[in-house]
């Protein structure tokens, strides 16, 4: 080391420090289970690109410096793009669908079900499970409308049922006074099997609609979507004979949702969007009455995206701006809950 000049010492220190930074990254990824796939993708992509550079350097050994520099620059740009795309493609769905299950809430709602007083029932549709909060003012054999709920990405059916029945029964009573409130967990959420993707959510929407529609007590079905759930709700209403469609904080297309998390999905970067849910295309085919509610201060779904969706809706659609509330405040705003219940009562 004594013979080394400052340049070489600096280079040596830089390489060891770079190695350490990579070890730091690998350690953090190993500690976080959710990042294991991403770590694997990243390692494979980097090693393959390194091997490509090595082959290129050997192949261009006899070529001029200009050619070599051009090739290296090309591989470097390509490498950075591939690494960036790999991270985005694996990370975005993870951020979009943080699968969750609340075991405590599940047990609490299960206890209510065991009381057999027609308050709540566990429901199954193929690999999907969920809860049916039964209409309070109806007898078990009575025909009544069903609100079929498609949730936000951070929700699960057990926690929502617990919220409706145990935590805030007064606030949410309008949801299940005369209607059943039905919520199936998305694939991978709660105790539902599968993976949440654009295709699986679309298929799920149709399956659960058909299931609910086949119940002998169902008089009408109102599709109700919140946030990410507005996509499957809109798709479902466009493909089936729903009696109403309620959308809280809807998006026009999945690019708007992705860009809200990572604002890079423009132009060719749109190709990286794996969750395709183009509500703006489906809403044209919705023939039932539609109620859209959006907040001009929503920090998750841009207000403009909701307006854009409304502009494409035909027939009897109504848009309600709820000023000054955040994305999660829809659930604690009386006006939103009452308007939704009134709409459901009107169309049922």
């Amino acid at each position: 080391m004594e013979d080394m000049g400052f340049g070489k010492k600096l280079l040596y220190s830089l390489v060891t420090a770079l190695t350490a930074a990579i070890v730091y990254g690998i350690t953090l990824c190993l500690l976080e289970k959710a990042f294991h796939t991403l770590l694997l993708v990243l390692l494979i992509a980097a090693v393959v690109l390194g091997a490509v550079l090595l082959v290129l350097l050997i192949a261009l050994d006899t070529k001029s410096k200009k050619v070599k520099a051009g090739a290296i620059a090309g591989v470097s740009v390509l490498g950075v793009l591939i690494i960036f795309s790999s991270v985005i493609m694996v990370l975005a769905p993870m951020m979009l669908f943080p699968k969750n299950h609340d075991e405590d809430a599940f047990k609490a709602v299960e206890k209510l079900e065991e009381a057999k007083d027609n308050t709540v029932q566990q429901i199954v549709c193929g690999d999907l499970t969920g809860w049916r909060v039964c209409a309070r003012n109806a007898r078990p054999e009575d025909k009544r409308p069903v609100i079929l709920f498609f949730a936000g990405n951070g929700m699960n059916s057990s926690r929502t049922a617990e919220l409706l029945l145990l935590d805030e029964p007064e606030l949410y009573a309008p949801f299940y006074a005369d209607c059943d409130f039905v919520y199936f967990d998305y694939p991978g959420y709660g105790t539902s099997a599968g993976e949440p993707t654009g295709d699986s959510l679309r298929q799920m929407a149709l399956d659960v609609f058909d299931e609910v529609d086949s119940w002998s007590t169902t008089s009408s079905v109102i599709c109700f979507g919140y946030s990410i759930g507005t996509g499957p709700a809109t798709y479902c209403a466009s493909q089936r004979e729903a009696d109403g469609l309620v959308l809280w904080a809807p998006y026009a297309n999945s690019y708007d949702v992705y860009n809200n998390y990572i604002d890079v999905f423009h132009g060719p970067m749109k190709l990286l969007v794996l969750y395709k849910m183009d509500s703006d295309k489906y809403i044209k085919d919705v023939s039932c009455p539609i109620l859209i509610m959006a907040s001009d201060t929503d920090e998750v779904i841009p207000y403009e995206s909701s307006r854009d969706l409304f502009a494409r809706a035909g027939g009897s659609s109504d848009f309600m701006t709820i000023s000054g509330i955040g994305h999660n405040d829809f659930w604690v705003t009386d006006k939103v809950i009452e308007s939704t219940a009134d709409f459901a009562e009107g169309v049922a």
Binding site: A17, Y24, L38, L54, V87
Partner: protein, 84 residues
């Protein structure tokens, strides 16, 4: 005769830079500010530490020791950040 070793080293460094960028993008998008900041601060701080350490008598004669020192610091930092 192709100088394979120098090309191999270039490819290794290229791979490392790509990995570094990948982790940087990942942490900037998904983790807290401190995690992504450390991804930048850590190599800078360790480079400075390395330059200082190569003047320490024992390390001057055994420069390879710098690598395990840096790696151990990185692992400890990652574990502390994870636990926090």
């Amino acid at each position: 005769m192709i100088d394979f070793s120098s090309k191999f080293i270039k490819a290794i460094i290229f791979t490392m830079i790509l990995l570094f960028l990948g982790f940087l993008v990942l942490f900037m998008l998904s983790s807290s500010m401190i995690v992504s900041l450390l991804m930048l601060i850590l190599p800078a701080a360790l480079t400075i530490l390395g330059i200082i350490l190569v003047h320490v008598p024992f390390i001057k004669d055994h420069p390879w020791i710098l690598l395990p020192i840096d790696v151990v610091i990185a692992i400890i930092t990652a574990v502390i950040i994870y636990l926090i």
